[in-house]
Symmetry: D2
Subunit: 369 residues, 4 copies
C-alpha cells in the first residue's frame, strides 16, 4: 500500500532511519537485464550522506547487497531484494525527539496517525528511506537506457534565491557531477555552495528547485485520465520528503501566456512528428509525444535546524528546540539522484504498460487483416 | 487501470466526448450514506458547459442518473453507476480533426499510443470526461461533510496575469459562486471576466491558477512514503486536463525562504496541537496535521483556439488549423468544481484507509492491556 | 475494489438484480479489436433467464448497449461501458425477503456487513450480477480468439449424482449448445434434464459440476507465487455465486496417486515441448505450459427453494419460509457461460501481462548483444 | 505484482531457494501490535525442513530477523522486513537441472516465460519461497488472535488413500502437533507415516488433503462479487506450490445434495443469528456469517522423485531423470502451517477492509440522525 509504487515495474521500500537496515523490493523488472551490485552502488554513492561538506556528516558507506532476483549476472524476472545496512546510527543524538515534536517534521503527524513512532532521526519519515528509491531507480534507469537509450539528467536549478539557467537539451550528468552542489552552471554553483555554507554556519537551512530532463523517451507512454504520465510523475515527486511543488513543461509560468503563444506547433522532421517548442514538457493528454520530458520539483528548506524554535512536547506543553543530530543544511544536492530515480521508476512502469498495449494491438491487426 | 482512482473509495470514469454517454462507477462508498441524484446534479451544474458567457456554448443539461448502488435513498456499499447522456454532440464540427492534429492537444499522442482515436472533440481526452469525476466527487464530498464536517472550497486565484488575494480561512463557496469567473474577489473577478472576453474575441485563450482549501480535515490522513497525502493530491490534480503544476502549502514560493522562517511553530490550543503558520499546507511527512489543506493547481491556456496555427496531418504533411468547434476560452471557471472533486476523492479514500488503521489499533490496545 | 477484477485487462461490474440496470466497465482492452454489440449479445443470450424450461421464467431480453470505448467498430483502448436494463423486475415477489433471511443466501451476511441491503431478489448478491461478467468475458474471449486462436469450452459434467464423461480434447461448443442442459453427452444430458424437472416439481433444487477446457493457450501465462494462473482462475471461479470448489487438472482425485503415476512426462513433437499426460491441467508452477487448461468448478444446489425451511427474521425471531419469486432449480446450465467468461477474463489479463514481459526482454536482448 | 498479496494487509515475498536469503515485506500491519522475532520463529519452526524423518533432510535453522517496522517490541504501522538466510544451499546437487526439465515442475514453464531461470532447486518456484508466507502469516495470525480471538487450525486430513475424520469444532493445534504427520487422529496418523516412509523407500511420493478451520471469525468479512472471502481464500490456497484443488464448506461433495438438504437453517442463540448446519463453511454470498470457516486444499504428490522418468532437456532432446537433491516424499505435513498462514493473511486483510466500512458507516449514522 503506502510503501508500494508502480503497476508492472513495482517497488516497495522498507526501513527506518536508525533501524537495522533500509532497502527495497523490486517486483516486475523484466528478465535478462544484466545487473550487478555496482550498477546500483554508483547511484547510491551519489545519494549517500557525507559525500561533501554541503551534506550531513552521517558516515554511511551505504553498501548495497542484492539478495534475490539476480542469477549469473542477469535479472530473473522475480523480486529483487536490495538491502543496505545502517551502520552509523546514533540514536542518542535524537533522544530529545522522543518527547518533542520537531516543527514542520513528521513527528507529530506520525504520532497522531499511528499512536507510536520511531523517534530516532525521523524513523520511516527520514530521507534515509530514499536509499530504497535510489537503489530501485538505478535498475529502472539501466533498463530504460539499455532498452530505449533513455537519458535522465537532473540538476539543481535553484537554491534560495539563486537561479541557474542550464540548457535541458545539452546538460550532461558529467556537468552535474562536476561539483558538490549538482548545479551544472559553474558561477551559480559557486554562489549556491557559499549560500549553503552560510546557512549551515547560521544554524539555518535553505530550499530550492531540482529540474530534470528525460531524453529519447518514446511517444505513447502514459495513459488517459488518472494514470497520465505527468500525474504519475507528480505523485512520484511529491512523495519525496520535503517536496512542495511540481511542474511539467511550462508549469506555473505558462499560466500567464496566451494559447497562441503557448501551443507547441507540430512539424515533421526525418519522418517523425515533432514540436517546434516544448512547453508541453514532452507530454500531451497524459501521453509522451517523443520530445524530452521536462519537469521541476520544489523543495522546502530543511526542517531540522540548529536555531531555537517554538514547539510542544507529546503532552502538548510548550517547549523550545535547537536540533542536535546530523542533517543537511540544504537537501537540493542530494535530492538530484532521488528525483532521477523517481522519474526512472515512473517511465519504466509506463513503458512496460505501453508495450503490452502495443504488442496486443499488433497481434490483433495481424490476425484481423 | 488508467481510468481508475483510489484504494478503498475507488472511482472509474468512462465515456468519450461525442459518444453516447459519459459517467463513472464509484466502488467502495460506505453504506448508509443518504444520497439523491440532486446531490450530484448540484455539482454537475457548476461544471456543465453553457453556464455563462465565459464558457463553451455546447448545450448539455448533464442530467445524472444513478443506476445502481443506492436503495431507498441510501447507499448500499455496492458500486454506484452514474450516467450522463451526451445530448448536444456535434461531431461534424470536428470533421477536420479526423486528419489534423491540434497543437498541444492529445490528438497526436492518442494516435501514437493506440493507433486509433475518436477524433470527435477529443474523445476520451476531452474535458467532458470530467463529468464522471465531478459526479463521483460530489458523493465523496457529501461523505466527508456528513461524517467529518469537512469543507472544501476552490476558487480562481489567477487568470493570465491577474491575481486575486483571497483569505483561505474565510473564503466561502457562496462568494465563489457569486459570479461566472468563480473568483471570490469582486475587483479581480471583473478584470478576469473582461480579460477572458477579450481573449475570446481575439480567437485566443488564457490560463491561470485554481486555489483550494479543505477545512476540518482530521489529523492522520495520508500514508508514509509513496501514498503521502500531497502525493495523491498531486497525482489527482495533474490528471485533470490542462493541468501543468501543483503546489502544497508554500510550494515554489517557499523555496526562497530560510528554514527558520519557513517552519511552522507548534503550540497548543483547546487541548489540540496546532501550528502558528501553515506553510506546510496542512500536511507534514505526508500526513494531515489537522490544519487546513492548502493547494494550488496551474492550468495552461486552452489548447483549442480559433487563431490559425501550424501543424501536421496524420500523414505528417504540413497543415494550418483554425479551430472550429465549441470550446472555453479559459478553463479556469469550470476547473474549480473539478479540482474540488479530485480533492474530495483523495480525502475520502485516505479517510477510509485511516479509520481502518485506527480501529484496528484500538482493538489491539483493548486486547493487549 | 470488491467489484473489480484484473490487472491490465480490468473489469468492474455494477448493478442490483431489481435496480434500474446491470453492467460492467472494461478498462484495459487493447485498441483496434473489432467489436459489435452482437458479439456480446451472443454470449448474454446463453446466460439469460427464460431460455429454456430448465431455467428461471424471469423474462429478460438482456439487450446490451455499448456506451463508450468503441468507435467505428473497433475498440479505442479506453473504458468500455456495457449496460443492460432490468425490464422484468418484480420486487413484489420478494416482499417477504424484506424481513426474512433466506437460508444459505446472502441476505443475512449483507445485513451484517452493510447494515442495509436491497432485499429485492438478492440485490447485488443475485446471479443477475453475472450479466456484467458474461458481457465482459465475451470481449476477452474475442480478443483471445482473434489474437491467439484460443478456444474456451465449458460444459455441465455433473448434475446431482449424474456424471457425463466428455473428452476435453474434442468437446465443442456446438455440442454443448445442442440441448438446454449444456451437457455434450446426449444420454447424460437427458437424464440431467429429467432430474432437474423432477427437482423443480418437488420444489427443490440441485447442484453439480461445470468442466472447462481452454485450448491453444500459449506457454508462459501466469506469474510466480501469488498470481499463479491457477490461483487467479480459482479466485475467478469461487467468485461466481453458488461456487463451492475448484480443481485444476487432476484436482482432488490426483491426491490419491503416487508421484510416479501423476507426473506428466515431457517429450518433443514438431519442435515443441509437450507432455504425454495432462494431470497438470496445462499449468506448472503457476505458468501455462502450452497444453490445454483443464478445470472444474463445483456448484451447490440453488439456495432458493419452494419447500418450507426454518429461518429467522431481521429481529432474530423464528420464521418459516417457502420461497416465492423466480429461480433456477439448478444453476448448472446457465453457469457454463459464466465459467467461460471468468476463464476468458483471467487468460486475457495474464496474456497482456506476459507480452509486456516478453516484449521488454526481447528489447533488452536486442540491445545487450 | 506477482509476488504481492492483499489490499490493506499486504505481503510481498522474495527470494530463490538457493540464493542468499528468502523473506517477505509486510506492508499495512496495524501499529501497536506487540511483536517479537520469537512470535514468527515459532511458525517457521513448524515449516522448516529437517524437522522429522518425514521431511526433506535439508538442514536449515531458518532463523528469522525483523529488519524494520518494529520498535520497542511493537509494530510501527510501517513495512516489516522479514529475512531468513539460506544456509544449507547445495546447488551442486541440482547441477543436472541446469539442462533437464523435471516433469511436473516449473523448470520448463519458467524457461518458457522468462527465457532464464535459477535452476538450483527450483529457484523462485521452490517451496522454500513459502518461508516468507509463513513468517508473514504468523504476524497476521497474531493480529487476528489478539484483536478478535480467532483460532486457526489446519491438519492433514488425507494422505494418498488414507483419510482421517477429525471434528472441526474440537480439533486443536496441540493435537495436530503431537506427531510428525500433523494428522490429529492417532490411528490415521500412524498409517500415513508408514505410507510416507514406504513411498520414500520406493523413491516415490504421495499427495493428500489439508483441512482447516478458523473459529471466532466475526460476521461481515468478505466483499460482494470478485473479492468474496472464499474467492480470496481459493486464490491464496491455489497459490501454494503443489495445490490442485480447493473446497469451501460442502465443496464437491455438496454437489450431489438437494437444496432442501444442503441449506443451512437459521436460528437464534444468545441473541446471535446462527446456522444449525455449516455446509456454507462459514461464508454466504462471499461474506462470513460468524460460523467457523471450513476449507480443504488438495495437494498433488511431490513432483521430485528418485524414480527414473521420461523428460527432455533445454534443447528438447529426450532424456531420463532420476532426481538427486533433497525433497519431501509428501508435502502434506509441512503444508499445514503454510495453509494456516495463507488463511490468516486473507482474514487479516478482509478484517481491515471491513472495519473501515463499519467505522465509516457508524460515523455516517451518528451524523445523519
Amino acid at each position: 500500500m503506502a510503501s508500494t509504487f508502480g503497476t508492472l515495474f513495482r517497488v516497495a521500500t522498507w526501513g527506518e532511519s536508525h533501524g537495522r537496515a533500509v532497502g527495497a523490493v523490486v517486483d516486475g523488472c523484466p528478465p535478462r537485464l544484466p545487473l550487478e551490485e555496482s550498477d546500483i552502488q554508483a547511484a547510491l554513492d551519489r545519494r549517500r550522506p557525507g559525500q561533501s561538506a554541503l551534506t550531513t556528516p552521517r558516515a554511511e558507506a551505504d553498501r548495497v547487497r542484492i539478495l534475490s532476483g539476480v542469477f549469473e549476472g542477469r535479472t530473473l524476472g522475480t523480486p529483487i531484494l536490495l538491502l543496505v545496512e545502517n551502520k552509523d546510527s546514533n540514536p542518542a543524538d535524537y533522544e530529545a525527539m522522543r518527547e518533542i515534536f520537531r516543527p514542520s517534521h513528521a513527528d507529530y503527524t506520525y504520532q497522531a496517525k499511528f499512536g507510536i513512532r520511531d523517534w530516532r532521526g525521523g524513523g520511516r519519515a527520514s530521507a534515509r528511506e530514499t536509499v530504497g528509491r535510489v537503489a530501485s531507480g538505478a535498475i529502472a534507469e539501466k533498463l530504460l537506457r539499455i532498452a530505449l537509450g533513455v537519458e535522465i539528467v537532473g540538476w539543481v536549478e535553484q537554491v534560495a534565491e539563486i537561479h541557474a539557467e542550464a540548457d535541458p537539451a545539452a546538460v550532461t550528468r558529467a556537468e552535474v557531477e562536476s561539483g558538490p552542489t549538482r548545479c551544472p552552471v559553474p558561477g551559480a554553483a559557486k554562489a549556491m555552495a557559499e549560500r549553503i555554507e552560510a546557512a549551515r554556519r547560521a544554524g539555518d537551512s535553505l530550499g530550492g528547485v531540482v529540474a530534470l530532463v528525460a531524453r529519447n523517451v518514446p511517444a505513447g507512454l502514459g495513459e488517459p485520465v488518472f494514470d497520465k504520465l505527468e500525474a504519475d510523475l507528480a505523485r512520484a515527486m511529491l512523495s519525496i520528503p520535503a517536496a512542495k511543488g511540481f511542474e511539467i513543461g511550462s508549469g506555473f509560468g505558462g499560466t500567464a501566456m496566451a494559447g497562441s503563444q503557448h501551443n507547441d506547433p507540430f512539424y515533421t522532421a526525418d519522418g517523425r512528428v515533432r514540436t517546434r517548442s516544448n512547453r508541453s514538457g514532452g507530454i500531451q493528454g497524459g501521453i509522451s509525444n517523443g520530445e524530452s520530458i521536462l519537469l521541476r520539483v520544489a523543495f522546502k528548506p530543511t526542517a531540522t535546524i540548529a536555531k531555537e524554535q517554538e514547539t510542544v512536547d507529546a503532552e502538548g506543553r510548550p517547549r523550545t528546540l535547537a536540533a542536535a543530530g546530523r542533517h543537511d543544511p540544504c537537501v537540493l544536492p542530494r535530492a538530484v539522484p532521488i528525483v532521477e530515480a523517481m522519474a526512472a521508476l515512473v517511465l519504466a512502469d509506463h513503458w512496460l504498460r505501453q508495450i503490452a498495449i502495443a504488442a496486443a494491438a499488433e497481434r490483433i491487426d495481424g490476425a484481423s487483416h
